[in-house]
Amino acid sequence: MAEGDITILNNLKRQLLLKTIDFVNDVFKMALYDFALTSPDGAPVYTTISEIDPTNYVPGGVVLAGNAVTQDDVNDLAKFDLNDANWNSLGAHPILQARMYDSTTASKWVLAYWEILTGSLGSNYKLRFGAAGVFLIM
């Protein structure tokens, strides 16, 4: 694993089939942790355990606006995308994982997480989604 690598949780796939997540209308958030989940198994939910707490970090993380679901018939795929995650002047703290969760559902399931190796240093901190989007269903 390297910085920026994504793990999509099996629960995301399950909840897609159960029609419990609305990728257009639900509010998705990104939270930062100094402890990394290592398995896509089960149904992890948002937790404050090991969530970082430096200056200018609000528990729960930041809202990821700009929900976009699109269909690409040329490449035979569907795409889910969101705006980048930004923190202004995020206090210095080690960061090992960013977890995206659905804050609209009662369970607040974690849907995907990314490995992070670069901690915050007090400057602005941005997690930039890939040009291809948050994830593709191919």
Binding site: G4, T118, S123, N124, Y125, R128, F129, G130, I137
Partner: protein
Amino acid sequence: MRNLEARRRMIVASLELLRNSDDPLREDAIAHYESQLKEIDIEIRQENSDLAERIEKPFESGIVINLKTGYINISGRKANNG
């Protein structure tokens, strides 16, 4: 920026000395230093402009981490015999 300002102060001081001197070649030297002063003022304005732009776009000067895109594969997307 500090280097530019230090250079500007040196040029201004040289100009003052030249303007008060009786050197017959001073007009050429004054023209040379005045030209340098104009160039350095342009450089200082450019640096100030760059600084203002960086302040307006704070994330350009912060930490940016590129996240990879995830993939969920569903076989048989074209035919039904995947």
